[in-house]
């Protein structure tokens, strides 16, 4: 029975109470364990019953139907692992999510947890870095920078004090993989951070977690306490290693703090404004010290890489996009949720998996990679999900969020929203972003109002923002804007008239 925020948002707490009450009424002894979510959000709340070691699913469950959990009925789904959504995946990062009790270290160990950390403790730090490099793991936050190379830079940087910072400021709309991992398998992140600490010689880690995720904050704080109590963290990792400890820090509602340098400023207690690079955070990061800044999924994947070896991870995926990507299928879809697959699946296949739109209307556009990602039209649905193919198609994978829109979407309005969002969330440090976003809203409004001369101005502005902004907020806002203009000109009245 999940306690994931999405399951709770759909009534999981009331269902759990109803099951306990129904069991008491029947005089049946049941143990209700609150797990993470399997990621099949359209089936939440999804109740699973362990029958001879096989999990049988019932969902989407409502309090009035809990008798079906005991007697069977139309909501019975059969073995959960055999459902097409589960069977089609390659679960590496999310192997334990929805399976284990998130705060049980015994469960974690029983499912392969702490094997990677134990192995890392027996290795030379340079070999730990080499293993991660061999896996081909790239930063899952969006930039896709090779993790091993980042670690090597920090390991080689002089400094008496170094830091591991986990970027858990998952602000992109349509993304929730970090949240699900932290709520469903928090120890994997803790273990990954400890391995990173050993590899680069850092003794202190911070998780910067957004305030919009109250359930994940509570779970991570509880998990860190459990890990400290069991000696996984503390003065000596697992009783034999160096010191490593983790603090959970809560953000304060600024999207830009997902950018690594503004995140570091925020952690230091400052306004979350972006820093110019260089210096790289790997050399001068938190409090000016060498710092690894990695995303939740990146660090959460590290334990598996150390346990099974870098080559095992690199065997998944295609080309330079190695391993798996936990995709988040969201927006107007019949079946939404988390779907982890090797790189290389096409956008069209993802939409088929999602079963089309929730409204039953045709798909008009798909935004990939959050509010700074491009809108893809159906003609580009054969694009394979790899870093390289998406860049070539004028888009980005980002953090793996895929938001589907039906044909009622107005792409001119979406383009305007991209500028509006950038104006609200701009940190104000650089002019192209701070001023450009405001001018962008005004110019798009002129275009929508019928001024065809505004179109080249929007493009010019986008070129300036793309080339001149300090970070991805201003630099990537042109992606949704230009893709809307290029692929959906019919939604901009004057462009349609000009074409006719």
């Amino acid at each position: 029975m999940p306690r994931d925020a999405a399951a709770r948002a759909l009534g999981a707490d009331r269902v759990a109470e109803a099951i306990t009450a129904e069991a008491a009424r029947r005089g049946v002894a049941v143990q209700v364990i609150r797990t993470g979510s399997r990621g099949m959000v359209w089936l939440e709340p999804l109740v699973e019953v362990d029958v001879g070691g096989v999990r049988h699913g019932f969902g989407p469950m409502v309090p009035d139907a809990v008798a079906q959990v005991f007697d069977g009925g139309p909501l019975a789904l059969g073995p959960v692992e055999a459902l097409p959504w589960m069977a089609g995946q390659t679960r590496v990062t999310f192997a334990r999510v929805g399976v284990v009790d998130p705060l049980s270290l015994e469960d974690y160990r029983a499912q392969g947890g702490l094997v990677g950390l134990t192995r890392a403790l027996a290795m030379a730090p340079a070999d730990v870095v080499a293993e991660v490099t061999a896996s081909g793991l790239r930063g899952r936050g969006g930039a896709g920078f090779p993790t091993g190379i980042k670690w090597q830079t920090v390991a080689g940087a002089p400094g008496a004090r170094k830091y591991i910072v986990c970027n858990a400021d998952e602000g992109d709309s349509g993304t929730f993989a970090d949240r699900m991992l932290m709520e469903g398998d928090p120890f994997s992140l803790i273990e990954g951070m400890a391995i990173a600490g050993i590899a680069v010689g850092a003794t202190k880690g911070y998780v910067y977690l957004r305030s919009e995720y109250p359930d994940a904050i509570a779970m991570m704080q509880a998990a860190v306490r459990v890990a400290r109590g069991a000696g996984v963290l503390g003065a000596s990792v697992l009783g034999t290693g160096p010191a490593f400890d983790i603090d959970i820090r809560v953000g304060a509602g600024a999207y830009v703090c997902g950018e690594e340098t503004s995140l570091l400023n925020s952690l230091e207690g400052k306004r979350g404004v972006v820093r110019a690079k260089p210096p790289l955070p790997a050399l001068e990061g938190l409090f000016g010290k060498p710092t690894v800044v990695n995303n939740v999924l990146t660090l959460g994947t590290v334990p598996m890489i150390l346990a099974d070896g870098g080559a095992a991870y690199a065997a998944h995926g295609v080309g330079r996009s190695k391993g798996t990507m936990p995709l988040q299928i969201a927006g107007n879809v019949a079946r939404g949720g988390l779907y982890e697959v090797p790189f290389g699946i096409t956008l069209g296949q993802v939409i088929d998996i999602a079963g089309g739109t929730a409204t039953g209307r045709p798909v008009k556009a798909v935004q990939v990679g959050g509010p700074l990602g491009a809108y893809f039209p159906p003609s580009l649905f054969d694009t394979p999900l790899t870093y390289e193919d998406f860049a070539a198609a004028g888009g980005l994978i980002g953090h793996g969020g895929i938001v589907v829109f039906d044909d009622s979407a107005d792409m001119a309005r979406q383009a305007r929203f991209a500028f509006e969002f950038c104006a609200i969330e701009s940190c104000g440090k650089c002019t192209p972003c701070r001023i450009g976003a405001v001018r962008g809203v005004e110019t798009i409004d002129r275009l929508i109002a019928g001024d065809v001369a505004a179109a080249p101005l929007v493009r010019d502005l986008c070129a300036t923002m793309k080339a001149g902004s300090l970070c991805a907020l201003g630099g990537f806002t042109p992606y949704p804007v230009l893709s809307a203009l290029d692929h959906f000109p019919d939604d901009f009245l004057p462009l349609r008239e000009a074409a006719e």
Partner: protein, 163 residues
């Protein structure tokens, strides 16, 4: 809160004691300003202007610096919120499921714009950009509790509103 002759608000003694307790609890922490501000807002429901010079003095930074941080982040309030707080997602995945229409309806029913608090102090309506509930939108957070596939009727009922 009382006013000094200069017109600047100061904290009354019990509030000052609470603030001093928060500052003392964070003295060993590096980069402590955000945790302090979260704790202050947790204790007072907002970050009182009168607390800023006290925090600044304790951290040995300028008042302007503290003011800059407080005003940079959307979460910190300069006045208390209503008894209920509704955070309604405005981001793209929820837009794809009709978040704009839902927002207009909730605003009309509550008679509130973004960031407004009802005159009787019953409810505050805040925009939020993504709650990570993108596969069950439109989403909201009501008094910290997640709500998926939100409707105007459901949200208004949760905050005790009729009609």
């Amino acid at each position: 809160m009382t006013m000094t002759p200069a017109g600047r608000a100061t904290l009354d003694p019990p509030a000052m004691e609470v603030l001093q307790g928060i500052l003392a609890a964070h003295r060993e922490m590096e980069g402590s300003l955000l945790p302090i501000l979260h704790a202050v807002q947790g204790a007072f429901g907002h970050v009182p202007a009168a607390a800023l010079p006290v925090i600044a003095a304790d951290l040995n930074i300028s008042r302007a610096e503290v003011h800059g941080v407080v005003t940079f982040y959307h979460d910190f309030r300069d006045a208390p919120a209503g008894r209920h707080v509704v955070k309604l997602c405005r981001a793209e995945a929820c837009q794809a499921m009709g978040a704009d229409r839902l927002a207009a309806e909730v605003q009309a029913r509550l008679g509130l714009g973004w960031g407004d608090t009802a005159a009787d102090g019953s409810v505050t309506l805040d925009p939020v950009f993504c709650l990570g509930l993108c596969a069950c939108g439109p989403a909201a957070l009501v008094d910290g509790q997640p709500v998926g596939r939100a409707t105007a009727e459901g949200l208004v009922a949760m905050v005790g509103g009729g009609a």
